[in-house]
């Protein structure tokens, strides 16, 4: 039995659509006959629409059936039966999703809800998906897409943006390069991915195990892969022996895998940087923008608005201010070498092209240490980065502010270099001076 929900009475009926009245009257007549069709009596094959669905399609198969939204947008109300027939939802019937519609009053109703725009309608109708797909829905709620939707981002996808409304396909359809919905919005990144070794392995070599978007970013709890350890988990998920392989040649392999993102070496063409993430060492999670804002009484603008970026003293003061008396959390800077952009993160090259030259990072003035950012995580899961001067990694103050991040050679403290020079010169001078005085005085004595 189909339940028609009368709670959501709409404000405008089909009369408000662009079909003229005679057509509607004609449809009503046809509709009245249709309830007595064989389909309605249950003598229908499994792949045929139910009687109720046929009633819907009577009108909604018309190409010109549309409605006007509050903002003037024209919304097509056509549902192509042949498209619907290929959908995994075909068998559940129209009313399973469109529960708010009262078929008896549908066409004549004058108080149908008029959505402000297509976006508002998509967001509202997506809530219906949650009722059957609770698990996927709760995963989605924690995703960056959901956070962006909540923050009012008009481009962030809801269920129907990826799955379509009447074209929902089987899961396997989305796991092919042709069926990936991500490329609709992330076309640039997808094109970079296609050229990467992962994309090539899948598209040209036919390795179906090679990852596509959802393998790293996940399908519903989509998130920025670089946040926390998700990227590492994504890589290690397939490359299980990664630690063992790196330990064979890389000193302190475990530390490297923690502090260097995979792409920093495996995307050799990418520009690298060091990101110092504000991290709560007590709660073991990144500090949110709100927490920092509360403690500091506001935040400066993101890196684009900063001319020179934070200098060593400003960063030191920032950490001290955040950790001042009364705060339970102990905020530290967790450093990590990453690539600069999301597109670069997808430029994964074949293994033999990966950077193995230690000196490319562990030398004074190495590229990654000239690009420094300080970042925190926004409520929507996205990272906000603030520019910082490269001296934040080589100042003596970094001992206190960035004690947890150090790269041999690349981020050494300059003061220690000066001290070493003075000590070595001083140490070498003592014998020279002492010996010289001894010889001079011996000559005096012999005279």
């Amino acid at each position: 039995m189909i339940i028609f929900n009368r709670k959501d009475k709409t404000k405008a009926g089909l009369l408000g659509t662009h079909l003229c009245k005679p057509v509607i009257i004609f449809l009503l007549v046809v509709f009245s006959f249709s309830v007595n069709t064989p389909a309605a009596l249950g003598n229908i094959p499994d792949d045929s629409p139910s009687a109720e669905d046929e009633r819907c399609l009577l009108c909604h198969s018309f190409e010109r059936l549309s409605t006007t939204l509050a903002n003037g947008e024209k919304l097509s109300l056509q549902v192509q039966e042949e498209v619907l027939a290929k959908s995994v939802h075909y068998s559940i019937g129209c009313a399973s999703c469109h529960r708010e519609i009262d078929l008896n009053a549908h066409m004549l109703s004058t108080n149908k809800k008029i959505y402000a725009n297509k976006r508002e309608r998509s967001v509202a109708l997506s809530n219906i998906c949650h009722e059957c797909h609770e698990d996927k829905s709760s995963q989605y709620e924690g995703s960056i897409h959901a956070s962006l939707v909540e923050s009012g981002n008009l481009a962030a996808p809801v269920c129907t943006d990826c799955h379509g409304s009447h074209t929902v396909k089987p899961k396997a359809a989305y796991e092919t390069l042709a069926g990936i919905p991500c490329k609709t919005c992330h076309e640039n990144i997808f094109n970079v991915y296609l050229k990467s070794m992962h994309g090539q392995a899948r598209s040209k070599l036919g390795h179906v195990g090679a990852p596509i978007c959802s393998n790293c970013h996940r399908a519903h709890d989509v998130n920025v892969a670089s946040v926390e350890d998700r990227l590492k988990e994504a890589c290690v998920g397939c490359h299980e022996d990664v630690k063992h392989v790196h330990k064979k040649w890389l000193p302190n392999a475990g530390l490297h895998l923690q502090a260097v993102s995979c792409a920093a070496c495996h995307a050799p063409a990418a520009q690298r940087r060091v990101d110092l993430l504000l991290f709560d060492s007590v709660a073991q999670r990144p500090v949110s923008e709100n927490e920092i804002s509360l403690r500091l009484g506001g935040l400066p603008g993101p890196e684009e608005s900063s001319k020179d970026g934070l200098d060593a003293k400003e960063l030191w003061n920032l950490i001290r201010t955040i950790n001042r008396d009364g705060s339970e959390a102990e905020v530290i800077l967790r450093g990590r070498m990453e690539v600069t952009t999301g597109e670069q993160a997808h430029q994964i090259a074949w293994k033999d092209k990966a950077i193995r030259d230690c000196e490319s990072c562990h030398r004074d003035g190495a590229e990654p240490f000239r690009n420094v950012t300080v970042s925190l995580i926004r409520a929507d899961g996205k990272r906000v980065s603030y520019g910082a001067e490269k001296e934040v990694l080589s100042s003596a103050l970094s001992l206190d502010s960035a004690g947890g991040f150090y790269a041999l050679g690349g981020t050494r403290i300059e003061l220690l270099d000066i001290l070493l020079l003075l000590t070595a010169v001083g140490g070498a001078s003592v014998p020279i001076v002492h010996l010289t005085i001894r010889k001079l005085l011996r000559k005096d004595k012999s005279k």
């Binding site: 302190n252 001992l399 004690g403 991040f405 150090y406 041999l408 002492h434």
Partner: protein, 236 residues
Amino acid sequence: MTKLYIHPLQVRIWHWINAICVLALVLTGLQIRYVGLFDIMSLQLAITVHNWIGFILLGNFFIWLSFYLFSDKIKIYHPELNPKKFYRESFGQAGYYGWGIYRGAKNPHHMTPYNKFNALQKSLYQIIMLLVIPVQIITGILLWDVERFSGIVGLLGGVRVVDTVHVLILIFFSGFLFIHVYLATLGHTATAHIKAMFTGYEEIEEEDPKDSKEDKHDDKVIRMSTSESPSPLQIH
């Protein structure tokens, strides 16, 4: 000149292994820290060599420690508890190095097997062997596998703090080695102390009887003139 058996075999073995290790650690340490400034070897090789030598130094440290823990020779490291005597001897020794040596004065310290170090050496080697070397070994082990010891590294303030302590000690040794080698040439000949560190025997100038008020252990040592038997004995 008399010969005194000052440096037992274990101490000599420890000393020369330690000398080679410290020198190699300083050089590889500088290579690790200053990649690009000079490239004697690759960073990877420098780190591997540095780690291996570090562990040799660690084992060697325990040779030194076990020898002195189970020998009465540990007295050479006993601190001078009399402050007055400590300061008098320290200033006296500093005065000798800074002035007396120029005027041909005699070294105020009289070496014996149980009083091997002068006041300054004793203080310095106490600090080096009981503080500097252990701290360098511990920080070195922490840096060798930061992930394995991440808990301790975190408690100490992070990898940068641990590395800075390690580098500060490297800095200390980069100055100390010059002075140590130079002071080793201040025997009655330039190579006397160095030779002694191979043979174990120091050549000691005959003391003025009125200055001979050394500790009781001196009485147990058979002093032998250089013209006498070439195989001096030591009685414990």
